[in-house]
């Protein structure tokens, strides 16, 4: 598998040159990063050119890197990660594109290339607030009608901001600020690099 990926990585270097911001082969998976400006064109080539022919977009998701490694993150905050599959070559590829702006993240849409991107982009927009430029129907998909905020951002609390209950006085369902206390049983710990190394002992 990895020989196949090395060949693919080389082919991509030859074809796209310095348009590829970074290319990394790890754990038997190839990850490439491209700038937001080149993203649409890059994806088009990956789909249409026979040496790549990634016919299927398997997954697209948003990522919020703001608290990565407890503040060790230096780069841009939001990224869209795409998993592509080539049925003809039996190979997978991961493409990551960072949104240029942290305040108003936006990335080009690939719905015109792969129909399956439609709902995945709606989901990334709903949960992370990443706008996909050129998407024809960018509505919320998973959250409630009238939901405020983007719940998977790292600054959105796990218990949310509002809760819903039936109010007997008004005779209807109302929203009110959450009444539960946030609770963390097992704290999140990032250890030094060598800690808990499975190959050790």
């Amino acid at each position: 598998m990895s020989a196949k990926l090395e060949a693919l990585s080389q082919k991509m270097q030859d074809r796209f040159g310095d348009k590829i911001a970074s290319s990394k082969l790890a754990l038997g998976e190839l990850t490439v990063e491209v700038a937001a400006a080149d993203y649409r064109e890059f994806m088009q080539a990956l789909r249409d050119e026979p040496e790549f022919s990634f016919e299927e977009l398997i997954d697209l998701c948003g990522v919020d890197y703001s608290t990565w490694g407890d503040g060790a993150w230096q780069g841009k905050r939001f990224a869209a990660v795409v998993h592509l599959l080539s049925i003809a070559h039996n190979v997978r590829l991961r493409v990551r594109v960072y949104a240029d702006s942290d305040e108003f993240p936006a990335v080009d849409s690939v719905t015109a290339l792969w129909t399956s991107a439609n709902w995945f982009e709606r989901e990334a927009f709903d949960l992370y607030g990443i706008a996909f430029v050129g998407h024809e129907d960018l509505r919320r998909i998973l959250t409630d009608y009238g939901f405020i905020g983007h719940p998977f951002r790292k600054d959105f609390p796990i218990s949310g901001h509002v809760e819903m209950r039936y109010d007997p006085d008004q005779g209807r369902v109302i929203y009110q600020p959450v009444t539960i206390e946030p609770r963390e049983n097992t704290p999140r710990i990032v250890r030094e690099d060598t800690y808990g190394d499975p190959s050790h002992g």
Partner: protein
């Protein structure tokens, strides 16, 4: 004739044929669907966000709540992802147990699917038949992990424990006479493997009954043939995987193409459809059940002959056994650290996908080296399939929408996550 013929119809979210909480907003021209707009998210529990606040092992039971009719397969993808990041190997016996239970799960899933699908289309008897067989397989689930649905049996590094030597027994009660209990316990007298072997012997006969009931049934064919046709090109565009892709004529099965667990060591065939309609998808899934049966038989034979460990002996990942914990200081520390803090996974990212009964089920992890995932994304097959609802239902009658939902085999636990 009235001037306005188009109208909007609300289907669900509480509808027996919607397979859960699906709200479909249908724009109709008379009885013909012009546009289908599925509204999902009514079962959204933010599993991915919850996983960010739980340790790597604590999220395993959440996987059961995704696609709640094929629970062990969900866990499998999750464990494969963690194992990939940790770069640890699962013992051979653990791999075979996973393979066997993945196939048990596939039969369980397809039995529920064919039962409900037939029920939606109007064949009541199927549900009664398939739930009879599901009962046996859920007993196997119960024997191995103590739960009939939400198993939590797989663990990063292997499976939680070895297969049991005895099956749970029926007891005489107000509802079960002594004789009936004895009859029911007849094939439960041996080990779990004996019980499953007995099932694999019986299953082809049951399977033939389903064929008799449906395959040449005139009503069944009228409702399924040429309904929801998807061409191979469109199937790839729409992100189809699993039986949906194979129904359209593309021979793509991750168990063959990108083998995991012990699938490269067992023998099975991959059925492929021709026309890409609901009837072909039905035939593909029916044949898959027989192939699963074949795989289970091979796994049983291997597991009988090859005892051994079922979970990794790396105690930074899997807990040590109680006995060594009580005599060995280091094992005690391992146990304590593992259950208070959890596994530490090296920074990096990994995507692990399996051939789930419904299609490609993938888990994408981003780790920053903490005892919890930084980001987990669940790639649910049903999500992509349901997204194609608009295209598949377009131009069909209202009643065909029910057939298409059934043939997509959607479960809202995984779509809404």
């Amino acid at each position: 004739m009235a001037d306005i013929r188009n109208y909007t119809l609300n289907f669900g979210p509480q509808h027996p044929a919607a397979h859960g909480v699906l709200r479909l907003v249908l724009e109709m021209d008379g009885e013909v669907v012009q546009r289908a707009d599925p509204h999902i998210g009514l079962l959204h529990r933010a599993t991915e966000k919850l996983a960010e606040t739980r340790t790597w092992v604590q999220s395993v039971p959440y996987m059961d709540r995704l696609d709640y009719v094929s629970t062990m397969c969900n866990e499998h993808a999750y464990c494969l992802g963690v194992e990939k990041l940790l770069q640890i190997e699962v013992p051979e016996r653990g791999k075979y147990i996973r393979t066997m239970f993945d196939e048990v799960t596939r039969i369980l899933n397809h039995l529920l699917w064919i039962g409900c699908h037939a029920l939606d289309v109007g064949a009541m008897t199927m549900a009664l038949y398939t739930f009879r067989e599901r009962e046996d397989l859920m007993d196997a689930y119960e024997a191995v992990c103590g739960a009939r649905l939400h198993a939590a049996y797989y663990r990063p590094g292997g499976v939680y424990r070895d297969l049991p030597d005895r099956m749970p027994q029926y007891r005489e009660s107000t509802w079960t006479s002594a004789k009936k209990a004895k009859d029911l316990n007849d094939n439960r007298s041996g080990s779990l493997l004996d019980f499953l072997e007995d099932f694999t012997e019986r299953f082809p006969k049951y399977h033939a009954e389903y064929h008799t009931l449906l395959t040449d049934n005139r009503i069944w064919k009228q409702r399924l043939v040429n309904v929801g046709i998807v061409s191979p090109e469109r199937a790839m565009q729409l992100g189809f995987t699993g039986a949906m892709l194979r129904g359209s004529g593309i021979a793509w099965d991750l168990r063959k193409k990108q083998p995991y667990a012990a699938y490269d060591k067992v023998d099975f065939d991959v059925p492929v459809g021709v026309s890409g309609d609901s009837y072909d998808r039905y035939l593909v899934r029916m044949e898959e059940m027989l192939q699963s049966n074949r795989i289970i038989k091979q796994c049983i034979a291997w597991l009988r002959a090859n005892p051994g460990p079922v979970i990794t002996d790396n105690h930074k990942v899997a807990p040590p056994d109680r006995e060594s914990m009580k005599s060995n200081m280091e094992e005690l520390i391992h146990h304590f650290k593992l259950f208070t803090e959890g596994i530490h996974v090296p920074p990096g990212e990994a995507y692990a996908a399996i051939e789930h009964p419904k299609g490609e089920f993938g888990i994408y992890f981003i780790s920053d080296g903490a005892n919890k995932p930084y980001r987990m994304k669940i790639r649910a097959p049903g999500f992509a399939h349901l997204a194609a609802m608009d295209e598949m239902a377009n131009g069909h009658m209202l009643a065909d929408v029910v057939t298409i939902i059934g043939s997509q085999d959607v479960v809202f636990g995984e779509i809404d996550r």
